[in-house]
Assembly symmetry: C2
Homo-oligomer: 310 residues x 2
DNA sequence: CTGTTAGCGCATTCAG
DNA sequence: CTGAATGCGCTAACAG
């Protein structure tokens, strides 16, 4: 590995001069600049990150706090990380992974972001270790999604709309419920608690059970909204012919109608904001993103215009 | 931030002594060791990674090469990364993300691993940049899975077994095909090319189309194997009542029978092997892992004992 | 404009 | 056993 000394020697200049041209930190005459550049090219020299960073007191690294595996059901961590990696890389930064409960995140990175959705019940604990509003926060409002979903059905003339969602004790789920109520109120439809089922977990068979509970009751409904991918998949599996509309939380694959969470935009925005903050720029700490509704080929799909069909 | 100097000063010893006790690199008297430890505790001192690493010429970092988003359909990157992070963290290392086509991966990390499945058609290109056998490789054999799947059906008395899989030009898919042929041969069943459908892509609707193509033909089959999550999901969606067995590639959720790829073990093994290699230990460069078959609640589920039902 | 030099925080010879 | 000195690779004053 060639060092800056080697370059300086070969170019017949001092190390400082090499540093100057490489960092544009001082005016350098065209002649010597060319000599330096030639030497750099010849040696294939690349500045040693460790040395440079030690001197600059920076790591050129962004730390990512990762929650535990079983919580990653709603959001696509893969896509999120890929986009975050791209955003960081194009700015000369790298992403460094660390478990959310990690102790040693002192000088590992210049800044930290955390992956998490409001549906993640453990997020409060994670945020206790790394408060969200000391770092830039990008949020996606489930209330908006729920409201949008209900409106889609009411605009199509439906009146009795069922809701299958996780318990309201989970923050993100609470907002889903909120949007549902709000849309009903605005449409002048009375709220009927019997139409709401709240399974404890977001698993395939929880969806099946919830659907069957609703179907077995005397309550007839003409529209149905399901919050949670696994739940929605379960419902579709049991019998999608009867279900006017399934709205999954984020996954729009498999023909299920659902909201597409702007995962890439989210990751990108988060990284950009952190970088701006590191640059010393003032930033808005909270940024809200909106999910978009995509109507799938399964279940309800009539009387809808202006939507993308999967 | 306290430095080693501060510790030395407070303990009334030299910086070298502090280094000795912190790294156990030299014998130190019990008395002075205690003084040092006390000072460390009092100041909450933690060695500065950058400085230490510069001196030691190491980064305590493992680089991870990430393929592009659209290729991540078969394997759970999230789970994989989480487990890799845990394995690395518990050894004092961190994971550093980098796009697979990244140029600058010189001194960023002590070693590199890459996420990828043999089904990934772009893997050869990725590996061209970071040849797999210069880094430790952990592989999962699809041929084993295919063979196991076919045997499960033949043992239940089936004779005409259909196969829906990706084109053989994709390495991982080729091995799937291989295992299928091998199992048939061993069972003394003649191979019938009409029972094999090879859609070009692993998407939901490709599965639907492939299934319909097979169903429309004159070929009747009593068992069916599908390679690929999205394909399998599509097949189930169309009509799972007729399908004796769906074997997905890796995903066993949603009631579909399938192979569980040992994702966590994989990630863990890969990281451990790299760390051993960095330690200078001789390691076997290729490690084979086997997937395990899980029978789902959908489709074929009779005459099977000793399996875990989802 | 360019060279000399002093650290960034740490580990490690080499004398004592 | 301990301490002073050296340097890992680089940047940034400070002189010239």
């Amino acid at each position: 590995m060639a060092t800056i000394k080697d370059v300086a020697q070969l170019a017949g200049v001092s190390v400082a001069t090499v540093s100057y041209v490489l960092n544009d930190s001082m005016p350098v005459s065209e002649a010597t600049r060319n000599k330096v550049l030639a030497a750099v090219a010849k040696l294939g020299y690349q500045p040693h990150r460790q040395g440079r960073n030690l001197q600059r007191q920076r790591t050129l690294t962004i730390g990512v706090l990762l929650p535990q595996a079983n919580l990653l059901c709603e959001l696509d961590l893969a896509t999120w990380l890929l986009e975050a990696t791209n955003a960081a890389t194009s700015a000369g930064y790298s992403l460094l992974l660390q478990p959310a409960d990690s102790q040693a995140r002192g000088d590992l990175a210049d800044g930290w972001i955390s992956f998490g959705t409001a549906l993640d019940p453990q997020l409060p604990q994670i945020w206790a270790l790394a408060p969200p509003f000391e770092q830039p926060a990008v949020l996606c409002d489930a209330a908006f999604a729920a409201q949008r979903a209900v409106e889609t059905l009411t605009h199509a003339g439906m009146q009795r709309i069922g809701l299958i969602t996780l318990p309201r004790s989970i923050p993100g789920s609470a907002r889903w419920y909120l949007g549902y109520r709000r849309a009903l109120r605005r449409a002048g439809i009375a709220f009927d608690p019997a139409l709401v089922v709240e399974p404890a977990n977001n698993r395939f068979h929880d969806g099946v059970a919830a659907y069957e509970a609703l179907a077995a009751s005397e309550n007839d409904y003409d529209g149905l909204i399901v919050c949670g991918n696994q739940l929605a998949t379960g419902v579709v599996m049991v019998d999608h012919a009867k279900v006017p509309l399934i709205v999954s939380h984020s996954n729009t694959q498999r023909g299920i109608s659902g909201f597409r969470w702007p995962t890439e935009l989210w990751a990108h925005t988060l990284v950009r904001k952190l970088l701006q903050q590191l640059d010393g720029s003032a930033i808005a700490h909270r940024t809200w993103l909106n999910p978009s509704l995509v109507i799938g080929s399964l279940g309800f799909k009539e009387d809808l215009d202006g939507f993308n069909y999967v």
